[in-house]
Symmetry: C2
Subunit: 229 residues, 2 copies
Amino acid sequence: MSTTYREVKADILRQITQGELAPGSILPNEVDLAASYGCARATVNRAMRELADDGLIERRRKAGSRVRRNPLRQAKFNIPLVQQEVEEQGSVYRYALVSRDIAPASDRLRARLGLQSSDRLLHLICMHYADDAPYQYENRWINLAATPDAETFDFSQTGPNEWLVKQVPFTDVQISFRAIQADAVYAEHLDCARGDALFQVERTTRQDDEPVTFVQLTYRQGHRLTTRY
Amino acid sequence: MSTTYREVKADILRQITQGELAPGSILPNEVDLAASYGCARATVNRAMRELADDGLIERRRKAGSRVRRNPLRQAKFNIPLVQQEVEEQGSVYRYALVSRDIAPASDRLRARLGLQSSDRLLHLICMHYADDAPYQYENRWINLAATPDAETFDFSQTGPNEWLVKQVPFTDVQISFRAIQADAVYAEHLDCARGDALFQVERTTRQDDEPVTFVQLTYRQGHRLTTRY
DNA sequence: TAGTGGTCTAGACCACGGA
DNA sequence: CCGTGGTCTAGACCACTAA
């Protein structure tokens, strides 16, 4: 009948959210907390470490643990594969390859990704449908210097994301979200009006600083990305 | 000279990203790993637990640990206070209250937040500037049933976010991102054209299921939210 | 039912960094 | 300097669940 780290964490969390522990105030040290909860120091340590990971407290050797003044607000988003995303909302997923070509990197992409001018890129445009309605427009560049196999793979049946995830390891991913206005191309593919506001995710994937792929995923009008914490 | 959990984690991570451990393959159990790394089982456990938290492996009792087939792609975003966000990019921050009124909740908000029809809401519209250029338009509703003090507080000098973070505890936050088209009001306040695509964050904060505040934060044209992992 | 991860313990040593 | 958190250990019991 010992106190678990979950109980310790929940109790401290309660004291913080209910204002018993004011922002900026200092918590007892681990030894004292262990004694008062009647558990081992390692148990308190795990509870406190998770609270620190969650951004609720700040810990420093010798200085002790304090409740953060401005609780670090951080949100975690799942970035699912399109197919899973579509199927999880109960729709039928369909994929189509719109175009495929190979060309040297444009100046814009070279600057953005840090590519050599000699590098060749595989450029794919794909559509993802939910119940036969346009769901996502995918504009992707794959660095053939990093992924030579991509040149011979047939992307007409399998989406590049599915293939890349299984074939190519990566070490670093950068993601950004923004709003863009639909031009004629987007309007046609996503079945919306020119000028509509669309939600776009841009993602750059690297393997040890070498760019592997850059993609723009543009969602149909009205899409939301949601999370809670 | 023992093996640390960081070393164990880094070594397994390397095997995954370099393809030595294929997606879906099973890892040795903790006892065996501990033996092969020459450390205690608890050390291996911590390394594996963190890999699981990071979405790289899946663990199940009796079944063992496997490399995820589709590495769970999850991104963590910091949700900073506007003032910090502006100042961190080296600009001067300025705040202004645009309007303030108190009214019963509209049907739309009642449905969205799960409010009682008798609840009164404090409705604030605020502007946040960076170097005197519009940066963010804030449209906020505060539930006076949950936060009576808000009724008498003077929001003409201090932004509601700063005040709420310090005054009101919360237990649950829901965030969503989307793209919207600027109407005449947005165009005027954010100094952009009608029809421009704007990036908007919506956030609902609750304390034990009671809605505390709902806010729409609309950024100036061209804003991006970025992260890496 | 047996194997695996989940957790707790009591103790130890150490690194960091405030006073 | 020396208090605090960071980490490791060897062992133990337990909860879950696949076989």
